[in-house]
Amino acid sequence: MNKIFPNAELAVTDITDGAVIMVGGFGVTGVPFTLIKALARRGTKNLTIISNSAGGKLPDIDISLLIKNRQVKKVIASYPVYSDTISVFEKMYLKGDIELEMIPQGTFAERIRAGGAGIPAFYTPTGIGTALVDGKEKRIFNGNKYVLELALEADFAFIKAHKADKMGNLIYHRAARNFNPNMATAAKTTIAEVDEVVETGEIDPEIIVTPAIYVQRVVKGEKYEIRFD
């Protein structure tokens, strides 16, 4: 079975309107820019995007592209806006043109982990006593209050890894790992954008972070220059 796709366009060709898509990345690192661009070209609408941020640091290549195209109905994120830039997401949110579900980052990560692990919900202490858990079920354990949080799952996960072998085993580079391995487990179809594809067996099994069982498609990503001031 060949998981290596010749380009990103072909890898996203069966994504339909209304799909729920996880998109990896933290700030500017570990973001699957090539897959985002392909989905923007495809023009699929009514998407729910599950991503730590709602774009804006690199608006020409991050998920701002999809939001600007009005392809996104709802964003589930922990860090939707930045204090130093006003993103296209923020403008549309303030006009009521896009929905947001904001959750604490640890809860966000754990909801994705749970989704991939067959756990429908879990209790967590984070957010108790704050507006972010209003209306959610609470329960006391050992005298402390916890909130029930539901697992997150998706139709597709777009992830960025450093290297894949032809089976789809993945390793990451530095801080670009972040949400990518978690999201890879929580979608029906995980598409990995990578810097390099190597022969099966070339990656030491001891260092594989995402086993190929979680990866359905692999695409070699374009190279993006990220500038720092």
Partner: protein, 220 residues
């Protein structure tokens, strides 16, 4: 007009709280500066929400790896012994109580140690990020901030009016004017900026301050 400590000096004072062996998480913005002021005789490990443990100083042109950045997207370098994990694991460490110290920015802190730091009152949207997890899970929470808002309103208040991050979580407040410990009896004024009197600090602080018997100038 008199002025208090600069932003750099506020974070330098915060760095003096670090103890040898601490795992320390620095929030985005002002707290990030503390990484430059760790005392020479103290060895700490910096823990970052993006899954990075053991990073060091800011990286400059020629040594930048675009996939090696801190939570504020600044390129950094690694120290020997650094490691990486995924986001679920890094937050399991935070919630699980493995982080010794979190240094966080704030809009307001209450006299009970309630923290408000993710959305300004005049904005309809903010970003919570990892602040609630860090405020809950870190063994010690240090807030670094300006003592008042730009228009002179106290940021240390009886009750937070901004949306809460976590109740009763702040242990120490370091501002340009003072170092204040949150105790069960109330806010204890322990150190004060050079040239300021306790009365002047009280005037811009809403709750009543308890003056420490050994009140002294801020030690840097």
């Amino acid at each position: 007009m008199k002025s208090g400590l600069t932003r750099e000096l506020i974070t330098m004072r915060a760095a003096r709280e670090f103890k040898d062996g601490d795992y320390v998480n620095l929030g985005i913005g002002l707290p990030t500066l503390a990484s430059s002021f760790v005392p020479d005789n103290v060895s700490i490990t910096l823990h970052c929400e993006n899954g990075m443990i053991g990073y060091g100083r800011i990286a400059y042109e020629g040594e930048i790896d675009p996939e090696l950045v801190n939570a504020g997207s600044q390129p950094v370098l690694l120290k020997p012994g650094a490691s990486f994990c995924d986001s679920a694991a890094i937050f399991a460490m935070i919630r699980g109580g493995r982080v010794n110290v979190a240094v966080l920015g704030a809009f307001q802190v209450s006299e009970k140690g309630d923290l408000a730091n993710w959305r300004r009152l005049d904005k309809r949207i903010g970003s919570v990020g990892g602040s609630m997890d860090l405020a809950y899970g870190s063994k010690k929470v240090i807030v670094v901030m300006e003592h008042t808002t730009r228009d002179g309103q106290p940021r240390i208040v009886k009750k937070c009016t901004y949306p809460l991050t976590e109740k009763r979580c702040v242990d120490l407040i370091i501002t340009g004017l003072a170092v204040i410990e949150v105790t069960s009896k109330g806010l204890l004024l322990k150190e004060i900026a050079p040239g300021f009197t306790p009365e002047e600090v009280q005037k811009v602080t809403e709750p009543k301050l308890i003056i420490a018997p050994d009140l002294h100038e801020i030690e840097l």
